[in-house]
């Protein structure tokens, strides 16, 4: 009993110090994100994008749209990608062995006809059945292939792309019309960009017309709405903060830009992972560091893509469990980079933080809850102290969410309606109470599945954009 008491007390102290260390890094990221958002905001305001439209300078872009059983939204999505404001872009839709009518819908809507394969196969992929061009849209290429997963479909897209830059976009994601113009800004600024990420926002609840978000709104339903401040926090200060020290580790798989030749050099996407975007960026860092290529992987806040987030608990659980399982697998796979000075900031700062601060966070947080209760039962912990600590921890979480709202309000100000603003504040305030603990539980479940080597994505139930006003 005496040993147990000592162990509980020691563990509690360990948790407190962990909490302090992790939150200090978050505080640092928060501080670092301020000059970053200022920089982007100052360039963006009164920038004349029309000047770029007429320029031959902008590098051609291939937008890659992997599609698996997307018959509900594929036509709206592809039409929107084709209509993006950009001087030279092509759209490559990769039908990843869909079992529904995805390909047939594309065939009818865009008057597709088969063309002979004439693309150098640089990356090994599942068998491609056929290539199609459109009689109505010169910039469209549709590739029909056997099912091989999202990474494999994207590799087919990389093989088929004609442009030096590729932008993978999820079929259920709506890219803002000027997002590509904004995404290539670092190239015009002369930066050595290997990849760049844009902001992902929540499309649920927004007014959508012809594949465009015409009126951003915060959804009315609890589950999609509470993810709005969560996304804001992840993008508007998390990634901006990492930008400042050159340690950005994530370019969202739903919308990001990559130099195609770097993707070819690292062998494209891994097909054996459930978070292909994180794995890709980690390998990209590793490759460029090893080759001593000067590079940057910035996050740019003003190009926006809107995605439909899960609106039922089961889908949401699957998504969060999969994300965390992917994080565990990726960090384990690339463990050689941890604390390895050869990989610079990524090896010495970002990867260790992702390991201790992100991957282990649900373990430590749930241990904190359990040990707190145990300590109280054993009479080792003052209830006042435990509650104060809980209040400080949750208060800190609340502070980060509210800070993301401050960024949003003082810069992009995407939600003009007062009621959306109120909802944003309410949901930001509500997030640490209940919802966070639920996501901790889901992320905890990921450890078991990761140990079992699960590669399951799980069914992602979507309502489609026509029904996304929830």
């Amino acid at each position: 009993m005496h040993v147990l008491a000592h162990a509980v007390v020691a563990a509690n102290y360990l948790i407190i110090w962990y909490f302090l260390a992790v939150n200090s890094v978050y505080a640092l990221l928060l501080i670092l994100s301020v000059p970053e958002i200022w920089k982007h905001w100052k360039i963006v305001s009164s920038e004349d994008l029309q000047l770029y439209m007429g320029s031959e300078a902008l590098p051609p872009i291939s937008v890659l749209v992997p599609a698996y059983n997307e018959e509900a939204s594929i036509i709206v999505s592809v039409s929107a990608q084709l209509a993006l404001r950009y001087p030279r872009h092509e759209v490559i839709v990769i039908n990843d062995g869909s079992t529904d009518g995805t390909l047939e819908r594309l065939r009818v809507a865009f008057d597709l006809y088969e063309v002979p394969p004439a693309y150098p196969l640089r990356l090994r992929t599942a068998r491609v059945r056929a290539y199609y061009r459109s009689r109505t849209q010169a910039a469209l290429l549709v590739v029909d292939k056997e099912n091989g997963g999202k990474g494999d479909a994207l590799n087919v897209g990389i093989n088929s792309a004609r442009s030096p830059l590729v932008v993978p976009v999820d079929a259920d994601t709506l890219v803002a019309p000027d997002a590509l113009l904004r995404l290539v800004r670092p190239f015009l600024l002369g930066e050595s960009v290997a990849a760049a990420g844009g902001t992902i926002r929540v499309a649920n609840g927004c007014r959508i017309e012809n594949g465009r978000v015409v009126e951003p709104r915060v959804p009315r339903r609890f589950l999609p709405a509470i993810q709005v401040p969560e996304y804001l926090r992840a993008f508007l200060f998390g990634r901006l903060g990492w930008n400042r020290i050159g340690g950005n580790l994530i370019v969202s798989g739903a919308f990001g830009l990559f130099q195609r030749h770097y993707l070819l050099a690292i062998g494209g996407y891994s097909t054996g992972t459930v978070v292909e975007d994180l794995d890709l960026v980690v390998r990209l860092h590793a490759y460029l560091r090893t080759q001593k290529v000067p590079y940057d992987i910035p996050f740019i806040p003003d190009p926006v893509a809107w995605t439909e987030v899960p609106s039922d608990l089961r889908t949401h659980r699957r998504q969060r469990e999969r994300w965390h399982r992917g994080l565990i697998a990726t960090l384990f796979l690339h463990r050689g980079m941890l604390f390895n000075p050869r990989y610079g900031v990524v090896g010495m700062v970002t990867m260790p933080f992702f390991f201790f601060g992100e991957m282990l966070a649900p373990v430590v947080e749930s241990a904190g809850y359990v040990l707190g209760v145990l300590g109280w039962i054993l009479g080792l912990l003052s209830i006042r102290f435990a509650l104060l600590f809980l209040a400080a921890a949750l208060g800190y979480q609340l502070l980060l969410s509210i800070w993301a709202v401050v960024f949003e309000e003082t810069t992009f100000h995407v939600y003009p309606r007062a009621r959306d603003f109120v909802r944003l504040l309410v949901y930001a305030a509500a997030e640490p109470f209940g919802y966070r603990q639920l996501t901790v539980l889901w992320r905890l479940m990921a450890f078991g599945n990761a140990v079992r080597g699960s590669k399951v994505w799980g069914e992602m139930r979507r309502r489609g954009f026509s029904a996304a006003r929830t």
Binding site: K42, I43, A57, P120, F187, A391, A392, F421
Partner: protein, 354 residues
């Protein structure tokens, strides 16, 4: 860590959160009124610009009233006006603003500021109403240490077509990374008459290989007949990179001499040169090149075959005939490429060629 420390942290958090909440709500409430005020101010300013351009208000009078407005607002309104209106009326207005004490004070403060976003504002303002007197300031802004300022300063060339500025601009362009350089070059197309003499001189005595590459690219983009002869001098260059660049540049010159040079480059031992030569022959619609392009369909390199096939499609019926002849022939690679190209719509070919 004692309970007291935690209590202090929690209290500090609560106080901070309350302040942030109050700030956000107050800001929201003020924002609506502020936006309305700004919209009204902007509308007044735009109205005064319109009145000045229509001759109902003296430019000097307009310039005198500027100090009542916020600088970013004036800058944005002038930028918008400059995009919509050109000609004498605009120049009178710009000259009056340029002469005003408002401009002198604003520009000096901003162009010399230690904060890059203020220098950015100066670059944007100069690109709208600057004149010859601002060349030294423009030269400084072009070489600014912040990339955002440099990007905005690119537009200065359109407003201030001055040889000294152009030389500096060209030097910066040559050193810039590829996309940024191309953006600089695009802007130079607006001042073609002034840049061609500078290019003629630099083509005659290029510096580094890097500079030569950039100058050849720009010479191609200018598509100016005076530059054709200096370009021919690079057809026999020992540098494969120079030959590739000149092949690309000649694709902007629909001239029989350019065609002959490109036909010679189509037989180059380096595949990049052959690829570019094929693409350029298609771009200038060199009908006489049909047989050589047909032979290039059997080239050992995929890219050369692809570009030759596209070039043949660009030649119209003549090229289509060649592709049909190759179809079903003994050469599997040529057959495959011809089949692919014959299957494409005209729009798809145009997309490829672009």
């Amino acid at each position: 860590m004692s309970a007291l420390v935690l209590a202090v942290i929690v209290l500090a958090q609560m106080a901070f959160l309350t302040v942030v909440f109050v700030y956000l709500v107050a800001r929201r409430m003020a924002e609506t009124r502020r936006l309305a005020r700004r919209a009204a101010e902007r509308s007044r300013l735009s109205g005064r610009i319109e009145e000045t351009l229509a001759g109902r208000l003296l430019p000097e009078e307009f310039a005198r009233g500027l100090s009542r407005h916020r600088v970013p607002m004036v800058s944005a309104a002038l930028q918008e006006g400059a995009m919509q209106v050109r000609g004498d009326a605009w120049e009178h207005l710009a000259a009056a603003v340029r002469q005003s004490s408002w401009f002198g004070a604003t520009l000096r403060r901003r162009a010399e500021s230690r904060w890059w976003w203020r220098r950015l504002a100066a670059a944007r303002l100069l690109a709208t109403i600057g004149d010859e007197r601002d060349v030294p300031c423009a030269v400084r802004l072009l070489g600014d240490r912040h990339p955002g300022v440099r990007l905005a300063a690119v537009q200065l060339v359109r407003r201030l077509p001055n040889p000294e500025l152009l030389e500096t601009f060209l030097d910066h362009a040559i050193q810039a990374p590829r996309v940024a350089r191309q953006h600089y070059f695009d802007t130079l197309a607006a001042v073609r008459a002034l840049i061609v003499p500078i290019l003629l001189r630099r083509l005659g005595a290029p510096g580094s290989a890097y500079e030569m590459r950039a100058i050849l690219t720009l010479a191609g983009q200018m598509a100016s007949p005076e530059l054709l002869d200096p370009l021919f001098a690079y057809v026999g260059s020992p540098s494969a990179d120079a030959r590739t660049q000149v092949a690309r540049a000649l694709g902007r010159y629909p001239d029989p001499r350019a065609r002959d040079a490109l036909l010679a480059l189509l037989g180059d031992p380096v595949w990049e040169v052959r690829t570019q030569a094929a693409a350029s022959l298609g771009a200038i619609h060199a009908l006489e090149a049909r047989d050589r392009l047909g032979q290039a369909l059997s080239d050992e390199n995929w890219w050369v075959r692809l570009r030759a096939a596209i070039a043949l499609r660009q030649l119209g019926a003549t090229g289509l005939e060649v592709l049909r002849q190759v179809r079903g022939g003994a050469d599997r690679f040529a057959d495959e490429m011809a089949a692919y190209m014959l299957g494409l719509s005209d729009d798809a070919v145009a997309g490829y060629a672009a």
